[in-house]
Amino acid sequence: MEEPKATASAIINFSEKLEDDSSNFYEKLAEKFLEMKSVFLAFAEESKKNKVLVTRTYRETITDALEACFSFEGLKLSNYVVKTILTEDTSYSDALRTAIELEDKASKFYLDVAELSKSLLATIPSTFRKVAERRNSRKQVLKSLLEKAMAKH
């Protein structure tokens, strides 16, 4: 089935959900893997801030997006969805792999929407790029945690 057009509203809704899900995911990781609690809680907190930043930018610039007749042509939101299911049996390294995939797709999502919105007010793509950088930084941290975890085995 063809995916419907990604309107500005749909993009922001997706971003909000992505940050909410990410925040919940990292809070659960913090509960499950106590030795890395502070790192995961910091990620959860950062996702909450990301949501505020993106929503505020959208609301303050929505008129620009509208008057430029803006839609995110060709963007398939389903490409950026990651299932972040944690079970009793999920190991630390598997959880990290899921987190890395989540950060990878989130970062790509924000970079793609930044590219597609670059004709709009500079604050719009720059906000998306800023969040993409934050998510990419997390990915690097998670990768290094995974390497350390693997080295122990």
């Binding site: 929505i62 008057e67 007749c69």
Partner: protein, 502 residues
């Protein structure tokens, strides 16, 4: 795709807000209907002459204290109002969608534009300053002070139920006047919500009043000797023959923004992809129900021979029709939707009658929006899809009259001169745009075209809150315009003082 939650769960019973109290009206009660679902969302009174008179009385009583309130304190009320609007941004936007029909992105844009006017008016301590000059004669100085006038009436249209009264209201109260807003009875909920927030923001009773209703309220405002001025946005016949005329007779100040028939020119050197994208918003945004909507698209053949022009014309028309075909129509709370319904059934019927007239008068129907195709299962009662006509001429009804719906008329002109003549043959003068890569042509267009709002590679020429919302010819009646410093001037008298001390 997600359908967002409706913000109104039970049918609201709207009241008037007079003198700081929510007051039941003794008038007839009418339904406010969500045009997408056809469900009743509110009931609104049609207030009586006594009720509008009462509102004018209490506003007049509140005026002396309010005008003595320091501008900084008045501005703080606006700061608090802005903060409340930001807090309730999403709720306010969704209300616009369910009471008017526009898409959620359009509603959020409208909310933002409204808030921007509150922000600008909050700068009143600077905006309201007068000016002075020492030594105009020996030992004599002269200065101008700006003083509020009293009570103003604001009559809102149905097409922007949240934003349009905010082109005026924040400036009126910031300058120390008191106001009575009459929202459109078709979609009055937004103004009721603003009144709730205004009350919470701490405006004193009587400063900001809302009286719902129709003609009785309007004529009550026009006839009342204690109303100093009227701000109106609506159709040209009412603006010209009722509001402007009556204000002239009674000596009231007036801003009467009226109808439009906006022309967009596509020059051969235009960036076609960007032009077509801008046209889609212009012609079909808000379902064509705005005074800045594109109505007539003129494909201009400046510098082209006959063969080249025909090829260019076909290219533009085909690109326009292809883009219009792809506009997704449905309930505005569905985030994938790009165009909502008309405000009500009678408006749909009016637009449909224009389409029929276009066919009858020989225009070529390229896309028939009467074949309704919706995203989602909604009653077709108020919906139309985009319509495109080509080979439209200025003597056709669809080429000259305001349709106020999602209908585009494509016309031909062999030169910029001919295109400008075509624009000037129309009595309206609200907005006109040119799409071109040529600074010379753009400058010529800007210089010559007799329209209040000019777009250069812009589809919707919507002035920001700190600029006046202009208009000429049959699109505007008055002198000063809404928004920004012109609104501040409209709501104040310039008093000149010449002083000498012996």
């Amino acid at each position: 795709m997600t359908i967002l939650e409706e913000p109104i769960k039970e049918v609201l019973s709207l009241k008037n807000y007079i003198g700081g109290e929510w007051v039941e009206s003794g008038g007839e009660i009418i339904d406010v209907v969500n045009p997408a679902t056809c469900k009743v969302i509110a009931r609104v009174p049609v207030s009586t002459k006594d009720e509008i008179n009462k509102a004018v009385d209490v506003a007049g009583e509140a005026f002396p204290d309010w005008r003595r309130t320091p501008p900084l304190a008045r501005a703080r009320c606006l700061f608090r109002l802005k903060a409340l609007m930001e807090e309730r941004f999403e709720e306010l936007s969704r209300i616009q969608t369910i009471e008017h029909g526009k898409t959620i992105d359009e509603s959020r844009g409208e909310t933002r534009r409204g808030i921007e006017n509150v922000e600008v008016a909050a700068g009143i301590p600077s905006l309201m300053m007068g000016y002075n000059l020492e030594d105009i004669a020996a030992g004599i100085d002269e200065y101008v002070i700006r003083q509020p006038l009293g009570v103003f009436g604001i009559i809102g249209p149905f097409n922007f139920p949240f934003m349009v009264p905010l082109w005026f209201a924040p400036y009126a109260v910031a300058t120390g006047n008191c106001i009575i807003i009459k929202p459109s009875s078709e979609d009055p909920v937004s103004q009721a919500k603003i009144a709730e927030m205004m009350e919470e923001a701490g405006f004193p009773p009587g400063v900001w009043n809302v009286v719902n209703g129709g003609r009785t309220v309007v004529s009550g405002m026009l006839d009342h000797p204690d109303i100093e001025g009227i701000c109106f946005v609506g159709s040209t016949p009412v603006a010209k023959d009722v509001i402007y005329r009556k204000c002239g007779e009674t000596g009231k100040r007036v801003i009467a923004q009226a109808g439009a028939k906006n022309f967009l020119l596509v020059m051969p050197d235009a960036n076609l992809a960007s032009t077509i994208a801008a046209c889609m918003t212009s012609f079909y945004g808000n379902t064509g129900q705005r005074c800045l909507s594109g109505a007539n698209l003129i494909v201009v053949g400046e510098g082209l021979n006959e063969h080249e022009y025909n090829a260019f014309y076909e290219k533009v028309v085909n690109a326009f029709v292809d883009a219009a075909c792809n506009i997704r129509v449905g309930y505005g709370l569905d985030e994938s939707v790009q165009m909502g319904p008309l405000r009500d059934k009678s408006k749909k019927e009016r637009v449909t009658s224009f389409v029929e007239k276009g066919i009858e008068e020989g225009a070529k129907l390229r896309l028939d929006g009467r074949n309704v195709k919706l995203i989602g299962d909604w009653p077709h009662t108020c919906f139309l899809n985009p319509t495109v006509f080509e080979d439209v001429t200025t003597d056709m009804t669809i080429g000259k009259e305001e349709i106020f719906g999602p209908v585009a008329s494509i016309m031909r002109a062999r030169s910029l001169d001919e295109a400008i003549e075509t624009i000037h043959s129309n009595p309206f003068g609200n907005a006109a745009s040119i799409f071109t890569s040529s600074g010379k042509l753009a400058r010529e267009f800007q210089y010559r075209v007799q329209c209040g709002n000019i777009g250069i590679n812009i589809g919707i020429v919507a002035p920001m809150a700190f600029f006046p919302f202009s208009g000429m010819k049959d699109s505007f009646f008055g002198t000063l315009h809404g928004q920004g410093v012109e609104a501040v001037r409209f709501f104040t008298e310039s008093k000149v003082v010449i002083q000498r001390w012996f």
